[in-house]
Every structure is written in structure tokens, then in C-alpha cells.
């Protein structure tokens, strides 16, 4: 599959200004903008970095340029949500989708391990899509946990937080120039762990209708806090309450700031 991808990219580089993908050198692997003439044997697919953020950065600097991206399912969903919020220009982006393997899907508890390129102006998919993996077992048994058990679980988890802001910094959907988490009014300064439940609940609420389950936040957390459990639960609620699934439909506007006529409540929660 990787040879296929490299060949596709080589071909596309004749017409695009560059393709964002992971590059492996003797130093290590990191996102890179491949351009015509670059050594494509260096193009690899892992370890995963949030490539969608790189596209946003490049397009803002070069709004007229046409870029491509080697994108997994999560990258594609992130691009969809960023496009809706004017962080990415979908019309100037060629998407070379890559289907994840079953092992990769399992590792990420990913429900959609293949990019849905049907709504993308210019795209194709390499690799055979595999079915989605089951959700994180913690999410699955959440219904059975009592309020006390849930509280004990999260208190123990949040006590580990060193407030590195890694979850916020790595997230492709976190692009606010003025972040509520840095406002001392909401998140007290000078205390570790951050006061329960301010930091993490504010972040979870802000992730409603944005989180595309790319799992980068959980991977980057030095304290290994299972953040995505909370974000998975809130994503499910947004789906139930408003019928909105982040990353699923590039034409669906984010519902939380819309009126009830434009984005009605589908089902009352609880």
C-alpha cells in the first residue's frame, strides 16, 4: 500500500504545490510538505500526527496554493470540521485517503477507520476499508457505573493532570486565539492539579460538536488520562440531542450556535 501511496503522491506533485504527509529521516518521523523533486521513499504513515492542522497553517499562509494531504479517517473528519469553521479551504485541497488496518482501528477504538471522501471535491482512497472497532470498554460500561463510581474514577484521573495544555495544543479543532482555559476567571492559576472539574469539563463542553475522535489528545497526555472517554460520551449526546455527527457531513453546520429552527433538538436527553 505504501508504494501505491508514494506513486500517487509523485504523480499529484506535478500539479499541486505540495502534499502534506509524514516524512521519516534519520532524525525521526514528523509532518512535512513534500514538493516536486523530494525523495518520496521518505513518505511514511506512522506514527500519527494531526496533519489537518498543518494544512490549515499552510493554507492561511498561501491562500492561493493547492495542496494535497495523505489523510486517514481521523484526519479527514478533522478537515471537515475545520472547513466548516473556515480554518481549511476544501476547494483547494486534494485528499489522498488512507484506510487504517484492523489493528490500527482496534488501538484507537475507531468507529470509522477509513476516510469518507464522498463529500470531498477532489479525493481518492487507497487501501481496503475495515469495519469500525468497538468503543473503548470504559465508555461501554459507563451506564453501569454509579455517580459515586464515576466521580471516584475521574477524581483519580484528573489528579494526575499537570496542566500542560497538550490536549488543547495538539487538537486540530482547537484554534481559538483566546482560549477559555487560559482565563484565570475559569481556570485558577497556580494550582496543580487543576481544580475539579473546571479545566476538563470546560474542554469537554467546548469539544461538543467539534471532537472527531482522532485520539491525539489522549496520546499526547503525559499523565495518560483517558480523555476520549468524556469526549466520546459528549459526542454521543450531541448525536442524540441534535442529530449531528462531527466529521460526517461537510454540508451540515455545527448546531450549537444555530437556532432551533435550523438545528432542532431531536430527542430530549435524560
Amino acid at each position: 500500500m505504501i508504494k501505491d501511496i508514494r506513486a500517487h503522491v509523485a504523480e499529484k506533485l506535478k500539479e499541486l504545490d505540495g502534499v502534506v504527509a509524514l516524512r521519516r529521516t534519520t532524525e525521526g518521523t514528523a509532518p512535512y510538505l513534500f514538493q516536486e523533486g523530494d525523495d518520496l521513499s521518505q513518505l511514511v504513515l506512522e506514527p500519527r500526527y494531526p496533519l489537518a492542522s498543518v494544512i490549515s497553517l499552510l493554507q492561511k499562509r498561501y491562500p492561493e496554493a493547492r495542496f494535497g494531504i495523505v489523510a486517514r479517517g481521523c484526519d479527514t473528519r478533522a478537515l471537515v470540521e475545520m472547513a466548516k469553521r473556515e480554518q481549511v479551504d476544501a476547494d483547494r485541497l486534494y485528499l489522498l485517503g488512507v484506510a487504517c488496518t484492523a489493528e490500527e482501528a482496534e488501538e484507537c477504538h475507531c468507529a470509522e477507520p477509513a476516510p469518507d471522501v464522498s463529500m470531498w471535491p477532489e479525493a481518492e482512497v487507497i487501501g481496503t476499508p475495515v469495519p469500525g472497532a468497538p468503543p473503548n470498554p470504559i465508555v461501554a460500561e459507563y451506564e453501569n457505573m454509579s455517580l459515586e463510581e464515576r466521580q471516584a474514577f475521574w477524581q483519580q484521573q484528573f489528579l494526575k493532570c499537570i496542566k500542560c495544555y497538550g490536549c488543547r495544543d495538539i487538537c486540530p479543532e482547537c484554534f481559538c486565539e483566546s482560549c477559555a482555559l487560559e482565563d484565570p476567571l475559569w481556570v485558577e492559576r497556580g494550582t496543580l492539579a487543576p481544580a475539579f472539574p473546571m479545566f476538563h469539563l470546560i474542554r469537554a463542553m467546548h469539544m461538543a460538536s467539534r471532537c472527531v475522535a482522532c485520539r491525539q489528545c489522549e496520546l499526547v497526555c503525559p499523565a495518560h488520562i483517558p480523555l476520549t472517554v468524556l469526549y466520546d460520551l459528549i459526542r454521543r449526546d450531541v448525536g442524540d440531542l441534535l442529530g449531528y455527527v462531527p466529521g460526517a457531513d461537510i454540508a451540515a453546520s455545527p448546531p450549537l450556535s444555530l437556532t432551533l429552527e435550523d438545528a432542532p433538538v431531536q430527542v430530549e436527553l435524560d
Binding site: 504545490d17 502534506v20 516524512r23 525521526g28 512535512y32 506514527p47 499552510l58
Partner: protein
């Protein structure tokens, strides 16, 4: 048009986490953790995530400054180094080697730190050498 990630080591604590500096057309535009580093393994602390904030900080000096009265005037490296050498020698001769102290920095290379402690110990004959953490 060039976007690449440059692998480097965080300048702050002794953990020595690796990180990538995102560089777009020669300009620093962000930081990414290094997922393959055996110590940091894809994480960074808050200082690591902001490790490049000093690079283009407006407070950063662009030339040596020499105190004059209540303020500072810009000077050349020659003027500044000549003044420093003269003053250090004078203080050393008048008040003895241990009247001098030398502070080095986390943002210097190991080699530069080595040179400064050599200067302190071998040239000025004092063991009063420490690190900016002490400031």
C-alpha cells in the same frame, strides 16, 4: 515555500524531552512532541510546548548593552567584552578570586557551559560557578 519539522531538545529541565519545531519558510510557527523519543514518547510539559517563546520575544537583546547612569547604551561586542575583561581582572586583583561569581544558562550549549566554568576555575581560580536556576 518550505514546511518542515526540526528535531531538537527542550532547553528547560534535565529530562531532555525531544520536540519538533515547526518551521514554515524559515519562521517558527509551532511545536510538536516527538512520538519516537524514548523518554518523552509523544508528550511534553507546558514549558516544552512553549519552548520557543523566547526566540522572537521583543525583550530579547539585539546588541550588548553597557550601563550608563540609570540606563543602558548599545555597544559593540568588542567594547562590551573589553569592559567585562578589565572589570573582572580589577575585581579579582583587588578583592580576590572568590569575590567573583559566574552564572551560566540552560539556553547555552553544554560546550559553552564547559567554557565558562573553565574560565571561572582555571583563569579566575574560583569555584563560584552555578546555573541560572539559582537566580
Amino acid at each position: 515555500m518550505e514546511y518542515r519539522n526540526v528535531l531538537t531538545t527542550c532547553v528547560y529541565c534535565g529530562s531532555g524531552c525531544s520536540l519538533y519545531i515547526q518551521v514554515l519558510d524559515g519562521e517558527i510557527v509551532g511545536i510538536l512532541p516527538s512520538k519516537e523519543h524514548p523518554i518523552s514518547r509523544g508528550s511534553l510539559c507546558i514549558k516544552g510546548w512553549n519552548a520557543t517563546s523566547f526566540v522572537t520575544h521583543p525583550d530579547r537583546l539585539k546588541s550588548p548593552l553597557i550601563r550608563q547612569g540609570d540606563g543602558f547604551v548599545e555597544a559593540t561586542w568588542d567594547e562590551a567584552l573589553t569592559l567585562v575583561a578589565e572589570k573582572l581582572k580589577t575585581i579579582h586583583d583587588e578583592s580576590g578570586p572568590d569575590s567573583l561569581g559566574f552564572f551560566t544558562s540552560a539556553k547555552c550549549t553544554n560546550e559553552e557551559n564547559y567554557l565558562l566554568q573553565k574560565l571561572a576555575r582555571a583563569v579566575f581560580k574560583t569555584n563560584n560557578v552555578d546555573h541560572c536556576a539559582r537566580l
